[in-house]
């Protein structure tokens, strides 16, 4: 396998600064990036990636592959939580199993952004519709997670009606998804001129903002390490092996429908990544019995670093191998 991809990824500013953030916590430095600065960076990244995705869709148009990709993305986001749930139930109660399963069915936008900047660096093209896939994969897993609790938690407060309206709004219209879709649409409908006028903002400083943001993510991820220990080796193994398996599944499907190498990487990263923002927010409301510290720390302190540090270059190497 092409280990130079891993090395070059490691020496990439965003990844270096992610490590620096982790070191800061381990060395007990008081470095911190206070709110709402991380919020600013993440708003910016969603805005930029959405707008660029929309512009590319505008350029390339929508065809059969695009539609198929989007449908398969949503199907995967619904299936992954189901088999994850049954694996997790071997060791956990229904509530925690369902919440973790939902997290792994959903996606992490930061992992996606990191993968797309990895592709930019290698000058491998990818379609703007992958951003649409990103937006569409956030919600199905949440709905499946709630249904799993309903079906398998016998003693669940069945007299309480689920506030589906509120949950679906949270799942489909939470700020991140909304901003992503809004930027995507803006990118599609804006004029060439409008696109060019934003280019210095969405393009040139993008990499720098990502670097700064990953510094913060390093701090945040490292702060979750303590919570990990309580999880035990079963959950540790799950946090690494499940994304790996999901990525391979994603690559297989990408190969089947003949995606380009760039799209295949993003597709595998979407299936491999786990949500630590939208899903926790939704689960808090609907499955308060599940421990947030558990699913947040797994998705954020293990799966996320694994994906951005090793996962992305490894998946790329596999894709390069089979696509060549």
């Amino acid at each position: 396998m092409d280990s130079s991809l891993i090395l070059s990824n490691l020496l990439n500013p965003p990844i270096i600064f992610f490590f620096m953030g982790m070191f800061a916590v381990f060395l007990k430095s008081d470095l911190e990036i206070p709110q709402p600065l991380p919020k600013l960076f993440s708003l910016y990244l969603l805005f930029a990636i959405g707008f660029k995705g929309g512009h590319e869709i505008h350029e390339s148009g929508i065809d059969g592959e695009v539609a198929l990709t989007l449908i398969l993305a949503m199907v995967l986001a619904a299936i992954v939580p189901i088999y994850s749930f049954f694996i997790l139930k071997l060791k956990l109660d229904v509530y925690n199993a369902a919440a973790i399963a939902a997290a792994y069915g959903s996606i992490s936008a930061v992992t996606f952004v990191t993968a797309s900047s990895f592709l930019n660096r290698l000058e491998i093209a990818y379609g703007g519709h992958m951003v649409a896939a990103l937006a569409l994969m956030e919600s199905p897993a949440i709905v499946i997670g709630i249904l799993l609790v309903r079906l398998f938690a016998r003693d669940h407060r069945t007299h309480e009606r689920i506030a589906w309206k509120e949950i679906l709004r949270e799942a489909c219209l939470n700020g991140s998804v909304f901003l992503l879709i809004a930027s995507l649409i803006a990118g599609i409908i804006t004029s060439q001129e409008g696109w060019e006028s934003l280019e210095p903002f969405t393009g040139e400083i993008f990499y720098g903002v990502l670097t700064f943001f990953l510094l913060d993510m390093g701090l945040v991820a490292a702060r979750q390490f303590n919570d990990l220990r309580r999880g035990g080796s079963f959950l540790l193994g799950f946090s690494i092996l499940m994304p790996l398996f999901n990525a391979l599944l994603g690559i297989a499907i990408a190969a089947l429908i003949g995606m380009s190498a760039g799209n295949a990487l993003l597709f595998s990263v979407l299936t491999a990544s786990a949500s630590y923002i939208a899903v926790p927010a939704a689960m808090r409301l609907t499955v308060p019995e599940a421990k947030p510290s558990l699913y947040i720390s797994m998705a954020l302190a293990l799966t996320f670093p694994f994906n951005i540090i090793l996962g992305i270059p490894v998946y790329m190497a596999i894709i390069n191998h089979f696509w060549a």
């Binding site: 709110q35 919020k39 808090r284 409301l285």
Partner: protein, 106 residues
């Protein structure tokens, strides 16, 4: 100066709308909200680390001074919300320094 009750509510910022509606339903038209509160309870730690893009997972601290009867009504209305979504509420005593503001009415 006359006695009032101080109601202090600490809850997830996602519940702000519901709590404020509940106050207003009880005719409590004076309250203040402090955002970006972190904390800990039996449910675990609440930090602002995950307040990214669309999500605000940190807490709010709502304080309201009102009459004893209103406070009782608020507590009754609030209890089911706190039971379902989490959040804590405390009552205590205070004295209000009445100020006479001119308020226009249309």
């Amino acid at each position: 100066m006359h006695p009032v009750k101080r109601i202090e509510i600490i809850a997830s910022s996602m519940e702000q709308r519901k709590i404020v509606d509940c106050l207003e339903k009880c005719q409590v038209n004076g309250y203040s909200v402090i955002r970006d509160v972190t904390g800990r309870s039996d449910r675990g730690v609440v930090s602002d680390d995950f307040d990214l893009a669309g999500s605000t997972l940190s807490n709010i601290y709502i304080i309201s001074f009102c009459g004893a009867d209103q406070a009782k009504a608020v507590v009754a209305q609030l209890r089911p919300i706190l039971n379902q979504y989490g959040g804590t509420c405390y009552l205590s005593d205070a004295m209000e320094i009445r100020s006479m503001n001119c308020v226009s009415t249309i």
